[in-house]
Symmetry: C2
Subunit: 262 residues, 2 copies
């Protein structure tokens, strides 16, 4: 394990830059912060290629195990200062451990639709907190995966990873476009259920496994032709002034409803 204490060390800047989408794309790497998330990652079979830690935390048994495994896999552990950790994480009270991981891609064809009765699909999702929260819910309901349609926020963004609480490492995420997704979906069993203001009451609906729950863009909902391609459109009662729920909330209410039926 080496030690970096100079703010100006080029590796510090490189890692700091992973908060930026362009640098993530160019390097194929991303950041995950916090021992809890790094432990989830390890249990999901992903080890960081680099791990930064506060010197004080190197004695923690879980951190020691993590360092040993990272080094055994050819990665590197770097002890550093709280200031540099704060710079890496962009927070005043940084996590004691920050990991750098190689990103990955899961193609549609790698999904086994018989692996779960519930699948989550989101189109043009823009908020990284929503994306991470949907992954966290996906883990909780045992979803087979999250399929992102069209131009969505980067699932490897710091905010998405943080909000996922580690579920990024355990729930498969596929990035696709609408046409190939629909072709893949119709190549086997699967009920496509869209959340839409034009839908029927979600509690009166009949669901069939595997259920693919489609949530539209936060501001606009889904395009009319996406809704037309759904097997079923549903909505939650809206008793107040507003006409929509937060996208991650709507997905979760639906996912738990479907889970409760099976």
């Amino acid at each position: 394990m080496r030690t970096i204490t100079a703010y100006s060390n080029p590796l510090v800047k490189q890692v700091r830059d992973l908060r930026d989408k362009r640098h993530r794309r160019e390097s194929g790497r991303f950041l995950a912060e916090g021992l809890r998330i790094l432990i989830e990652a390890r249990e999901g079979g992903r080890l960081p290629v680099l791990v930064f830690l506060a010197e004080a935390s190197a004695a923690h048994p879980l951190v020691r195990t993590l360092i040993a495994e990272v080094e055994a896999a050819g990665g590197e552990a770097i002890a550093t200062t709280p200031d540099i950790l704060a710079k890496l994480s962009g927070k005043d009270n940084p996590q004691a451990v920050v990991g750098v991981f190689d990103a990955w891609d899961t193609p549609l064809d790698a999904l086994d639709r018989t692996a779960s009765d519930i699948w989550l699909v989101a189109e043009r999702l823009r908020d990284p907190g929503n994306l991470g929260t949907i992954l966290r819910t996906g883990d909780a309901v045992g979803a087979g995966g999250l399929i992102l349609i069209g131009e969505c926020v980067d699932p490897f963004s710091v905010e998405a990873v943080r909000a996922s609480m580690g579920a990024l490492f355990t729930v498969p995420v596929v990035r696709s476009e609408w046409a190939p997704f629909l072709a893949w979906l119709r190549g086997g069993p699967g009920q496509l259920v869209g959340l839409s203001l034009d839908g029927g009451d979600y509690r009166a609906a009949q669901y069939a496994a595997p259920t693919f729950l489609l949530t539209g863009n936060e501001a606009q909902g889904m395009p009319a032709d996406y809704a037309a391609a759904c097997d079923l459109l549903v909505k939650m009662p809206m008793l107040g002034k507003a006409d929509s729920l937060n996208a991650a909330v709507a997905t979760a209410v639906m996912a738990y409803e479907v889970l409760g039926r099976t």
Copy 2:
């Protein structure tokens, strides 16, 4: 309507500072961004004391109506530049309208528990996005209000107001401590339902109106004595690696379950 185009205008700094909690407390005012939220506010009976708008948007009929009402109520409308709006809102793509409102306080005693079958209670809620999202859900399920227990994030923070999508203006928010809340609750009918890992299946539970749904702190859940004071503890199935849901998600899944039973 007057016009401000100088970045250095002291009013710009004063309003910009409302993004900071201390300045909100000292001035008793807060910021809300976007025409949609300002319209919700107006429908909820709240007009801004100051409204900043891009000159281009002054022609919008809803903006014109809003300006007229603000001025009739003794407030002021200020036309300004996109740059200054960006400074006020802290975003590169600012909303075309930013309002400054007087904050308010709703005491426990002002709540009429017979007004709704569902009430939301959150203790030591730390994330402003969660707070706003819970308010948005509260609006959707027709909740009587949100009661915040202990040291919670400020419901008037920019992020909370934004995530609430205007529900801050329509759903009563009470800030209380645990002991006075419990005393008030036990002074009338009300089932206190806590979300807890020690609880029973939320779908098998019996709910009684008015139901008060208590969500604990994001990281720690609720203290043992709070859980002991609940009439019922419930949890959602957790089929994955993690042991908890996002606080706003858990609140929403519970609230819709209770709504579906009544």
